[in-house]
Amino acid sequence: MSGKTANYYELLEIRPDASNMDIINAYRQAKLTFKADSMATYSLFDEEELRQMQEQIEQAYATLSNIEKRRVYDRQLGLSREEGASGRETADTVQDNVVTLDGGAERPAGIRYRMAVATVFTGRLLREVREFRGIELAAIAEHTKISRQYLQAIEDEDEKHLPEPAYLKGYLKQYAAEIGLDPERVVGRYPPLQRGD
């Protein structure tokens, strides 16, 4: 889009010390904005520009969402970053506040609200969160190297195809982290694991 190529942080319009949650939210927003039939870009960008933009967004997310790749990339950019989210509020915390002020009564069943107050993380809720973030199951399978069937079984709560509880806990934690949820919270509230206790 510009003479000098924007780096991945500039592309997703986040700060170099963005938390994983910031990255996921920015990715979702960018993906939604620049998808092929997006109303928001109507008449502003042509198909070819949108295609390029989508490619760049996917590249940016593939790198920034992977801790190892992000570390290498940061080094290339000459950024020295402390590990972790450097104590900043994550985007969800900030947006949750806005939701209670602005959209609380209008959308009581809003996904941000439900994930913030959930006492049970059903497979269905997990899938909703993932879809809300605009993340494909295949992308999680690739990042985590967990087989697609297991991930599908987690979302379906398909006990026949779920792995042994010890493995399931590990997989579920990785899956939760990928969709920006607190892994410990999800593991403690996932019905098939409670039934096993």
Binding site: M1, G3, K4, Q29, S38, M39, R107
Partner: protein
């Protein structure tokens, strides 16, 4: 030395009224019927309920009806009278609103010429906006990209744009922004303008021409950084805001943040999303009863959102003062 110092003082004293003048916000849209008058009247009322002195100016010349949105009778004096007058100040044409520290300068004259202001008449209005006795002056502009509309728009320190979730409104919003930015380029020195025109014709990468303002600013930054600074300075003078009106579907609420992101990528300038207003029958009901919506249905979601928007902008102003 002494004389110079004295001269500087005089200049500062002369400029003082301008720097202490009202803050000017303009409400615009690419397309008509998307809620400009509702938004400007409601923001005006919300500010005056916060104790700010507000004057609304109806600059939708030829289609002026802000008085109706405010529940006022047809005005006795209008902007045309001010344009024609030789010795009266603009403040003599403000019609006060009941109960609130607010007033209206109406544009509702029926003469043919008012919709087609001459250059000097437009200049007279723009010059005098700064002399209005108020904390805030809110301009309700006509739809579209006529030069007069664009010039009123870029005279304001905040530009508030209303859009509804349909492709025609979105297309016209982007057209309006393109025209407003192009019009703003007239404010930079000729040499900077020339360089910008040259950059816009340049090739980018293999074959595409530089098309977006963001890309041209970027190229300018690399080739002529001093001119890029001038341009950025000019563009940063006005803050732009977006309101999505007539929201029906939950997914419509995604439009604002997405348009803000798309604009930033295209124009290289921030367009801040202020929030959305739900489609609300009470807005029509208030209008039919010739009552101001905000004070007639203060508990409605749209009215609450409008109050929030006014409060957010006030907050930004007080931070920038600090």
């Amino acid at each position: 030395m002494h004389e110079n110092g004295h001269a500087a003082n005089v200049v500062r004293l002369q400029r003082q009224p301008e720097s202490c003048g009202p803050r000017i916000w303009a409400v615009a849209s690419g397309k008509g019927g998307v809620g400009k008058s509702l938004i400007s009247s409601s923001l005006g009322l919300a500010l005056s309920r916060q104790g700010r002195r507000v004057v609304l100016v109806d600059l939708d010349l030829g289609g002026a009806n802000l008085h109706t949105c405010l529940g006022m009778p047809h005005p006795d004096v209008t902007l045309s009278d001010f344009i024609d007058s030789r010795d009266r100040t603009i403040n003599e044409f403000v019609q006060p609103l009941q109960d609130l520290p607010a007033g209206l300068i109406s544009g509702a004259a029926d003469g043919l010429e008012v919709a087609n202001l001459k250059h000097f008449q437009k200049q007279k209005i723009i010059r005098n906006l700064r002399h209005i006795h108020a904390d805030y002056v809110i301009l309700d502009l006509g739809a579209g990209t006529a030069f007069n509309t664009l010039d009123f728009f870029i005279a304001a320190e905040r530009g508030i744009i209303s859009v509804v979730p349909d492709p025609t409104s979105i297309e016209n919003t982007y057209r309006f922004l393109k025209c407003a930015f192009t019009r703003r380029l007239r404010e930079v020195p000729k040499q900077t303008r020339k360089l910008m025109a040259r950059i816009l014709g340049m090739r980018q990468g293999e074959k595409r021409r530089i098309r977006t303002l963001a890309a041209s600013l970027n190229a300018m930054q690399q080739l002529h950084p001093e001119h890029a600074r001038l341009l950025q300075g000019e563009l940063a003078r006005q803050k732009l805001h977006l309101i999505v009106n007539q929201v029906l579907e939950p997914s419509d609420t995604e439009l604002g943040p997405s348009m803000a992101l798309a604009c930033h990528k295209y124009f290289g300038q921030p367009l801040e999303y202020l929030g959305h207003l739900n489609h609300d029958r009470q807005i029509i009901t208030a209008l039919r009863g010739r009552k101001p919506f905000l004070t007639t249905y203060p508990q409605s979601r749209a009215a609450i959102n409008l109050e929030h928007m006014a409060a957010a902008l006030l907050d930004q102003d007080s931070r920038s003062e600090a």
